[in-house]
């Protein structure tokens, strides 16, 4: 098994007159927490959306776990083993927490219309396995007691956790978190950090977009910096922090 999990080469994406991504290449190794940072509008979320099939790319290739990734359909990306959360939380608001996570199991389960109508033994077994796994995941992210509340009734921090649980339900190899700490207070951020570290310990690879520089520097094994759609640095956190190009991107020329 190679150490490289995801390898993107020459990703480009243009929105009308704006070149959102210019030839971005990066590699994510198995088992690491890979941070993606950059000023607002640098193209971090766009890159995320390209990786997860939500935006069609103009150019570029992504290989995932040794095979070319079909970027044309988001559900195929999920099936290949990439799960994501959203910067502005996107839950199924009027479903319960448990149901939200159960939806995440969709891609790993088979039952179709006919077996559902006939309630075959296989369907019932699968259904209870889905429910059990969803409960485990709610427990794992620490909101098991909210299982039967509607997603919309959860607190902000719990909604973030629920989104992670739903993503985990798809059995991903790579979990992509889009600004998971946005809007969180210090206590919630610390708890989130514990959760992400736990994920790594359980063998998951994490791609993390984050504005909270302290969180990124403390958590990530490697960090890439995007600026105006270009990757200007990719290294261990200490080296990135000292990189003059990065300082310039964040603070402007002359600050270094």
């Amino acid at each position: 098994m190679s150490t490289v999990l995801l390898e993107a080469r020459g990703i480009a994406k243009r929105f009308g007159g704006v070149q959102a991504l210019k030839d971005v290449s990066l590699t994510i190794n198995r088992g690491e927490i890979y941070g993606l940072i950059g000023p607002n509008g640098a193209g971090k979320t766009t890159l995320f959306n390209v990786f997860t099939g939500l935006y069609p790319r103009d150019r570029g290739e992504v290989r995932f776990a040794g095979a070319a990734l079909d970027l044309a359909s988001p559900h195929a990306v999920a099936a290949a083993g990439i799960a994501r959360t959203f910067q502005n939380i996107r839950l199924f608001a009027n479903m319960t927490s448990l149901e939200n996570v159960m939806v995440g199991r969709h891609v790993r389960t088979r039952a179709g219309v006919l077996s559902a109508i006939l309630r075959t033994r296989a369907e019932r077994t699968e259904e209870s396995a889905i429910r059990r796994r969803a409960q485990e995941l709610l427990h794992y992210v620490g909101i098991a007691d909210r299982a039967h509340d509607l997603a919309r009734q959860l607190s902000y921090g719990d909604q973030r956790r629920l989104e992670i649980a739903r993503a985990l339900a798809t059995d991903p190899e790579l979990l992509a978190l889009d600004e998971p700490a946005a809007g969180m207070n210090a206590t919630e951020t610390t708890a989130l950090r514990g959760l992400i570290e736990g994920l790594r310990k359980d063998g998951l690879t994490v791609l993390l977009i984050e504005h909270d520089v302290k969180l990124v520097m403390g958590l990530c094994d490697r960090v890439a910096v995007l600026d105006y759609g270009e990757k200007i640095a990719e290294d261990v956190p200490e080296a990135v922090r000292a990189n003059p190009k990065v300082i310039e991107a964040y603070l402007g020329t002359g600050a270094a």
């Binding site: 997860t52 099939g53 939500l54 359909s73 988001p74 559900h75 999920a78 099936a79 799960a83 994501r84 959203f86 996107r90 839950l91 199924f92 608001a93 009027n94 479903m95 149901e99 159960m102 939806v103 995440g104 199991r105 969709h106 891609v107 790993r108 389960t109 039952a111 179709g112 219309v113 559902a116 109508i117 309630r119 369907e123 699968e126 259904e127 889905i130 509607l150 919309r152 009734q153 739903r166 993503a167 339900a169 798809t170």
Partner: protein
């Protein structure tokens, strides 16, 4: 597990449903027919509920599938082509053809949502009706606006659904036989709906309704799952259409106008989108209240004023409109909303 109390309740409901047609028949066979049509509308509403209530796809052309089912039955069991297939062969064919029609409607509209989807489906409903109206030349397929006459009734062995049979002192008239058949179909459709709702597919439908992008990112093939909703809804419409043709003995394009689609949609919305029992209640209410008015308004006016002042038909639309406005004002999620929606409402109140 069901408690004894629930069991007794279910048994009482079953007995009431079985005895109902004879009670109605004593008030006139017309009431049995009205009940049959009400059950047909319940079937249609339950079919549309899959598309609109579960998957959240606003369909304004649902009557097209009803029409397809009705015409399939009419063409395969009438002197028009000289074909007289038994109903248990035709109903599945009708469901299958309607299912294909559902996919044909669904496929090009997958990217559309809300109002845009509503417009396209509305157009689809009209296209189907206009086809039925004009496919009489050069090959006479549908007999045009004149419609198709003398459609075979259901026939199970020696049991003819258009004739009366007497067992002891009980008279089983044609409509009563259809009533029992419709009741069985309704039961099956309710069971199917409930099972689908609690299944992997049902959750995927609701997920798409709630947030399509999140559903995609969670690994749901939204294209297939949406097509499935259209196909399932259409099949139910097709079956209801076949039974409609047999009960009526006659079909013509004017039975399948836009206002019928809107009527079925109103039943779904009024009853409570997504909740099977609410949808059934909505369909029953909107089927029976107008008939009750029809039978009471005229005699009451004649008794009070000695002459007819307001035509029952006019009053019907008035009552209908007021009822809808009041419902939307006081119970916007429907009379009997889906549990999720109900919780949503109560949360807003506290």
């Amino acid at each position: 597990m069901k408690t004894n109390r629930e069991r007794i309740g279910l048994a009482l409901i079953a007995i009431a449903l079985i005895a109902l047609p004879f009670v109605l028949a004593s008030a006139g066979t017309a009431w049995v027919r009205i009940t049959n049509f009400a059950v047909l509308f319940v079937l249609l509403s339950l079919g549309l509920n899959i598309v609109v209530g579960f998957a959240g796809l606003l369909d304004l052309g649902y009557v097209a599938f009803f029409a397809v089912g009705a015409y399939v039955y009419a063409l395969l069991a009438s002197p028009h082509f000289g074909l007289h297939l038994p109903f248990w062969v035709i109903l599945p064919i009708g469901a299958a053809v309607a299912c294909v029609a559902g996919v044909i409607l669904g496929a090009p509209t997958l990217r559309l949502r809300g109002d845009y989807l509503a417009i396209v489906t509305l157009g689809f409903g009209e296209i189907v009706r206009i086809f039925m109206n004009n496919l009489s030349s050069p090959v006479n397929l549908t007999n045009g606006p004149k419609g198709i006459n003398r459609i075979d009734p259901f026939q199970i062995g020696p049991l003819n659904f258009s004739a009366s049979d007497t067992i002891g002192t009980l008279v089983f008239s044609g409509p009563i036989k259809y009533y029992y058949f419709l009741l069985l179909v309704l039961l099956a459709v309710i069971v199917i709906n409930r099972r689908l709702q609690d299944s992997r597919i049902g959750r995927a439908w609701v997920a798409i309704r709630e947030d399509e992008i999140a559903a995609k990112a969670s690994g749901i093939n939204t294209r297939n799952i949406k097509l499935l909703a259209f196909a399932m809804g259409a099949s139910f419409g097709g079956i209801a259409g076949g039974m409609f043709a047999a009960i009526q003995g006659f079909v013509s394009p004017e039975s399948f106008v836009l206002s019928e689609s809107i009527m079925v949609l109103t039943m779904v919305v009024l009853g409570g989108m997504g909740n099977i029992w609410g949808v059934i209640a909505g369909a029953m209410l909107l089927s029976f209240v107008p008939e009750l008015l029809r039978y009471t308004v005229e005699p009451i006016q004649r008794a009070l004023f000695g002459k007819l002042l307001v035509d029952p038909e006019v009053l019907r639309m008035l009552v209908f409109g007021v009822a809808l406005v009041l419902t939307m004002r006081f119970r916007p999620a429907g009379l009997w909303p889906e549990t999720r929606h109900r919780r949503e409402m109560s949360e807003n109140r506290t």
